[in-house]
Amino acid sequence: MIQRILKKDMKRRKSVNIILFLFITIASIFLSSSINNILVVTSAVEYYMDYAKVPDINFIVSGTQEKEVIDDWIEHESPNLKSWGYNTVMSVNEKDIKIHREKKDSAFKSNGVTTYIGTMNAEYCKVYDMDGRDFTLKQGEAAIGYGIAEDNKLSEGDQIRISAAGGVNKIFTIKYLVKDAAFGSEMAGMSRIMLSEEDYKDYSEKNESNLQGLYYVNTGDQNTFIREYNDQEFTSALNMITRQTYTMAYSFDMIMAALLILIGICLILIALLVLRFTLVFTLEEEYREIGIMKAVGLKEFAIKKIYLVKYFFIVTAGSAVGLAASIPVSQMMVKGVSRNMIMEDTSANFWVNIICTFLIIALVMLFCYGCTRKLNKISAISAIRGGQSGERFHRRSVLKMHKCKRMPVAVFLGLNDMASHLKRYLVLMVTFCLSFILITIPLNTLNTMQSEEMAEKFCMNPDSSVYIETIEKPGEEPYKTIKDLKAGMNRVEKELKEKGYDAKLTAVPIYFLRFYEEEQGGKNHIMTVQILGENNDFLTYLEGEAPTLENEIAISRAILEQNDWQIGDTVEVGLTNGTKKMLITGTYSDYMQLGKSARMNPEIDLSSEIMFQYWNIMADVKTDLTQQELADKMEKLFPDYKWTTAQEVVDRNVGGIQENLKSMLVPMTGMLCAVIMLITLLMERLFIAREKGEIAMMKSMGYKNRTICLWQVLRMVWVALVSMIAAVPLSFVSNQFILKPIFAIMGAEVEIQVVPWQVYGLYPGVLLVGIILATVIAAVKVKQINIRELNNLE
């Protein structure tokens, strides 16, 4: 008998069953692939760091003058040393690298990161080919990072020319595109071109001043090592990067995965809500049959079995199809991550998907069983009465039609339905609300990235006319002191003036200075920036004020908290000419060095200090052009310099996430729209099935199909509008608790930017159109309802 009931039910509810099946399929695909992705991504970064032998600490020194002293200290005095290694890299001006095609040279784009040439002669921070294999290079061959190669449209077999001081000028054939764990991430701010030992020797011997020593240290006690290293006061010491910092540079790969996980969780939540609604709806609709079955003596589980078996079939079939589809989806997702990393063997993924599928079946069936508990509570006679005990009634009508003087009947009916049965429409409201919130996440992320505050967090004045990445002339060595930098700036200003641009340049030189804490005697190498130029009052502070006097400094909140320093404390800063006591006047949070930096006052003379590099130079000139227009114009007038906009700098420094998000926006909206449409279609079909009698009655009174469809559509529109209104405050919550922490990973809190016409207009509008379209499609069923269906009315 169960088989017969089941067969009949499957036929009777064909469209609803198909929609439910599709929904389970989609939910399975997303859950399996996103869980797979979580597992892959969480382990991938750590695995990649181990695989590439990224050490606990990697510190960079300028030149090789102190090599022996540092080697000796590491070998004999450094605490808890496990292993160490050393090699050098040589910085190369972007202008000195050219793409060589058909005997012609064209510009090479470094995308704002410092480019180095190096070899693979160290056992640390190793690079591998795209398949994760080790390789060797012969003379005339080069290996280049995948990201930078892609930006320059370079592939294996292409040629590049690298020239340097001392007349070294060679053409290299790109033998391999590589994955570089340490310097491969765009957020690392460095990229390496690997050469053979012989070729590198030719360059490095004649450019010793451009060499930087890379020390790789594995230690049992990272903090003690760093503290004691800082105590040594090596004059050539520049930057120090820990393994955690390298790992963090891949944080945005995690963010993309996190977004997908969020979508997966939301989909499962929606799937369960829809399932509960469908099941309860079916039970309520079939109360009479259930009552009769109970009355003739069928046991409760036997009745439940009819529904459980039906949903077991649908869920199993949906999950199985979902499993099959999730495998290529998982592979696609993993492929996206593996483009940047070397990952563990992915054969385990298949099992993750299978386990997920079984879990979905178990979870959904458990959930279904929970939903059928409603049957326990209802007696045979109550069920026959359609769920009413005959004693308790609750008021249904909320609004009064006769009090609405002008409102069209269809509009009123839609509104009244929603108001009378809020609980019934809750599933839809939650779904719509979640979708509206989900769409705000990438939108707000994008808009925040395009905000002026982001530029400021990267130590740039967003109001500057244009920015110059590097001002060294081709063949000129990278500037090492602010004296060189100032000279370069003066030269550029003069060149600009000659062409009619009275520009003022402002640079941000970066140093790694030693900081001593007076009371505790600790030492730190902290990245310190100083504004060099007139445009020096654009930086903002969380507390206190900008340092203005010669003995004042501002320190980022992360450093203050790390060292337990406060505004008003005095810190000693180690300079070449001795230490200088400085008063902390303010604190701030920005993205420089992942939120760990200091801002030096503009008065102090740091011309004797070794400058690590300089940040994008801000050019202020009277113009009506936008940054992009001016950058394009300047690029033509002064092709020797790399002109850019604030947005381009931000994009590069957040690892190209903006492009990913932009490309994700349309598919994500499409996907959400499809999910919403599917749910709306399912729900609307169920509503129509339940309201068959009422619809037939309205038809009998002379209501046209058009009016009845309009009633159904407007009801959905009301539900969607209420959900949209509810989504507004909830999106603020998601901004606060999802987006803000994500941005904070980079080192600073940022105000999440909301563009109202996009977030509350365009994108929800697209979803609303989807909802209306799905309702219209489902409401076609209204036409098929015959007035004879009056017999179906409760």
């Binding site: 009634f393 249904r396 038809k699 009998s700 009174m701 199909n705 009016t707 009056l790 009315l793």
Partner: protein
């Protein structure tokens, strides 16, 4: 001129590839202001006849003329307009929208007419609804939900609703079928009153007492009108007994 003229009406259903002729060449005329009852055994085609002549169901063959307009050839929207403006319906079950109050259910067809689109029109509909409710003695349940009132009250509300647009004819399908004796009497009194005010009524019933209130009764069997009896216009309760006896004798003669 007849309000409703039915000629050679046929209705056939195909169930499991078997042809089921529910109505076979039915011919009937209902005059203006006439109250006609349709009786017959279960499955004889009473309800199908009502649904088909009122345009709620399509005819397989034949012609249904309503004030000279052929309903069988009408488009769905035209038919909706006729049902809305010129016909009223009362069913055995008190079908109403559950989310509306009794009053809102009554005015529901009124608000859909062109008159109901204006503020002034709505005021008139509301006035009409109040008068109807008062006449049928259900004013006190106006603001109640439909599950808060008795079956008899609800059926009277359904009659109010069928009358809201001043129809020319009311189709009633077993209007007392779900009511107790007292409520049945009250509902029939109301239908009689409406009919006496000039609205034609076509009523399907299997209750002889209900049918005896009609001016004319048709007996349908196997989808065809086998016979009919004219009882004449009912003048008051005093003659009910005689009418019932006459009808009973006629029905016995037909093998009822």
């Amino acid at each position: 001129m007849g309000t409703l003229k039915v000629s050679n009406l046929c209705k056939t259903y195909i169930i499991n590839k078997r042809q089921n002729n529910v109505l076979r060449n039915v011919n009937l005329t209902i005059k203006e202001g006439e109250m006609v009852g349709v009786m017959g055994p279960s499955g004889s085609g009473k309800t199908t006849l009502l649904y088909t002549v009122s345009g709620m169901d399509s005819a397989t063959a034949g012609r249904v003329e309503f004030y000279g307009k052929d309903l069988t050839g009408m488009k769905a929207n035209e038919m909706s307009d006729i049902r809305l403006n010129e016909m009223g319906f009362v069913f055995q079950q008190m079908y109403m929208l559950k989310n509306l109050t009794v009053y809102d259910n009554i005015i529901l067809p009124g608000y859909q007419t062109p008159e109901g689109k204006t503020k002034e029109g709505r005021r008139k509909i509301n006035d009409r609804a109040k008068v109807l409710m008062q006449t049928l003695g259900i004013s006190e349940i106006a603001e109640n939900d439909i599950n808060e009132v008795s079956g008899g009250q609800l059926q009277r509300a359904c009659i109010c609703r069928s009358m809201i647009n001043n129809p020319k004819i009311i189709f009633a399908d077993e209007p007392t079928g779900a009511l107790n004796k007292q409520n049945s009497i009250e509902v029939m009194e109301e239908l009689n009153r409406i009919n006496q005010a000039g609205t034609a009524v076509l009523l399907v019933t299997h209750d002889m007492k209900v049918a005896s209130k009609c001016e004319r009764v048709l007996y349908i069997e196997d989808g065809d009108i086998r016979d009919e009896i004219t009882l004449g216009r009912r003048l008051g309760r005093a003659e009910d007994r005689t009418r019932e006896r006459t009808l009973n004798d006629w029905l016995i003669g037909l093998g009822w």
